[in-house]
Amino acid sequence: MKKKYTVGNFLISIFIGLFSLMCLLPMILTLMVSVTDEATILRHGYSFVPAKFSGYAYQLIFRGGSSVIRGYLISIFVTVVGTLLAVLITGLAAYTLANKNVRYRNALGMYFFIPMVLGSGIVPWYLICTGLGLRDNLLALLIPNLMFNTFNLFLVRNFMSALPDSLHESATIDGANDAVIAFRIYFPLTVPALATVGLFYGLAYWNDWWNAIMLVDDKTLYPIQYLLLQLKSQISMLKDLQYLSGTSAATPPSESLKMATAIVTVGPIILLYPFLQKYYVKGLVVGSVKG
């Protein structure tokens, strides 16, 4: 069917274009403020086109020993280790749910499903975490809340259920046990699904500050997002930052420093953007629209 370009089409393009632009412009504003000279901000306010540029805020951040660098490393560690473990746990359980030899797989599915609709609030969760010693340590950032997600489990399960049964049968006849079949046959065949949930988990870990706000008081363990949240309200944090980075400037470039710290947290997301476009969106669409 051929469709002509019309005035209507032109207006639609303008509207869509403007909306996309609005999605990007505020980010660009933040970026521009982060490279603005501090005195210029104090005099003229934030601006898209700063009168005077300065990379001083980034110099401060990337100087060795700054708390931003430490928070960044903690976030990277938690995200990488957490995502790998989470994908492994999810993939293995999904295999069992998709394994037609397991008679109670539907009951098991129900076992996983019930907590999705019946919550118990944050206090029981908090008491369990502290009871397990998940308090003021890296494990408190790694294990609670993020390491397993039932939505992701069912997503992978659906992919694995779609694989032909004969795969499983022939492997069993060849003498492989379920652990081997999961690792050697099912995982390689469901790489797109595993990559999708990997991105779900990875993004959740990277953007998380819930575990930190609930379970971590030790400033040296703050992940980058929580550090950023604290930075907004606490001028003393800024002084810390400056102290740690070993400078003694009379006026800390607090405005540009705040925005620069915000900008560096987006770095990994931009790095992973092609993969996010490819797998994340597809997974979300598959998960939401049935049939």
Partner: protein, 327 residues
């Protein structure tokens, strides 16, 4: 989302009739059960073990009832005192109203915007333009609410913000946005659309892609124009997806978005009248006041109504569109 869950009880009954009990099944598939064990344990510890703690809502908290055993057998029971304390305060109505009101605003504006974007994107024929704008639109979806709060700061900061600069440049005086509770309703709604509409639009767009093209061809032969096709074919045919997505959000209406509200508003008390939700209230009662029992009580109130809402919305979804139910 959860195919296979429907008709579960029926399937279970049929399966039980086969010979061999649960333990025989485990023995037969020991590796399969073994590799699922980490997930099973995780859910057991963080979800199932948490249910007994809900009794804390009817107890006074002390060091004894901080374990499952303690909460069940050594609790200092106090009846409904924790609930009374919450419901007799001004806060109960305020936080419940704010939670529901904000969520309803988010659902309506978010859905309308997403459907509009999807319909319009569908009209565009330049693949390159659609792909590029889609990529850009999705960007806000990936960043954290903390990052969004910095974006808000660069826009609405009283001293340096771009919005106030603009207001001053046209001769008005700047507004102190961070003390203006009324304005925050609008700010929250706009930021929600900004962050989520692009992603929702793509979900609806996928639903549009599933529409049989022969319908449009037939309509074109009958002389229908593009606008008529949009309103008479596309929109009615994606309505099931729209209704289901809306009902699923309705099911979560008792749960506010803590990550959003706390990151954007934080502990700014002057904005509580419009922005304080159940989740932020519980958070403060727990982390800042340290009142375990009352926090549990509010959490239980939220869970119970939340469960009824999920169940009810799913029942509705099943009535309208039998395939669309969550379970």
């Amino acid at each position: 989302m959860m195919e296979g869950e429907s008709g579960m009880t029926k399937a279970l009954k049929v399966e039980r009739k086969k010979k061999g009990g649960f333990f025989r099944d485990v023995a037969r598939n020991k590796f399969s059960y073994l590799i699922a064990l980490p997930a099973i344990l995780y859910v057991f510890i963080f979800s199932y073990l948490s249910y007994p703690y809900m009794a804390l809502a009817f107890q006074r908290y002390n060091y004894k009832n901080s374990t499952v055993w303690g909460v069940l057998f050594q609790g200092d029971w106090c009846g409904l005192a924790n609930f009374k304390f919450f419901f007799n305060s001004q806060n109960a109505f305020r936080v419940t109203f704010n939670t529901l009101y904000l969520n309803i605003l988010f659902i309506i504006t978010g859905t309308v915007m997403a459907v509009l974007l999807a319909l319009l994107l569908n009209e565009l024929r330049s693949r390159k333009f659609v792909k590029t704008t889609q990529s850009v639109m999705l960007f806000p979806n990936y960043i954290s609410w903390v990052m969004v709060s910095y974006i808000l700061l660069s826009l609405f900061s009283t001293q340096y913000g771009v919005v106030n600069q603009f207001l001053r440049s046209i001769g008005l005086s700047g507004v102190n946005w961070y003390t203006n509770a009324g304005a925050w309703l609008g700010i929250l709604v706009v930021m929600r659309i900004w962050k989520g509409a692009g992603m929702s639009a793509i979900i609806f767009l996928a639903s549009i892609a599933g529409i049989d093209t022969s319908l449009y061809e037939a309509a074109a032969i009958d002389g229908a124009n593009r606008v008529q096709m949009m309103f008479r074919i596309t929109l009615p045919l994606i309505m099931p997806t729209v209704v289901i997505m809306t009902l699923l959000s309705l099911g979560k209406i008792m749960y506010g978005d803590f990550g959003m509200i706390y990151a954007l508003v934080g502990d700014n008390g002057t904005l509580y009248s419009t922005t304080d939700i159940i989740d932020t209230y519980i958070f403060r009662a727990l982390r800042q006041v340290g009142d375990m029992s009352q926090s549990t009580a509010i959490g239980l109130f939220q869970s119970v109504i939340g469960f009824v809402m999920v169940y009810g919305s799913n029942w509705l979804a099943r009535r309208f569109y039998p395939d669309g139910a969550l379970y």
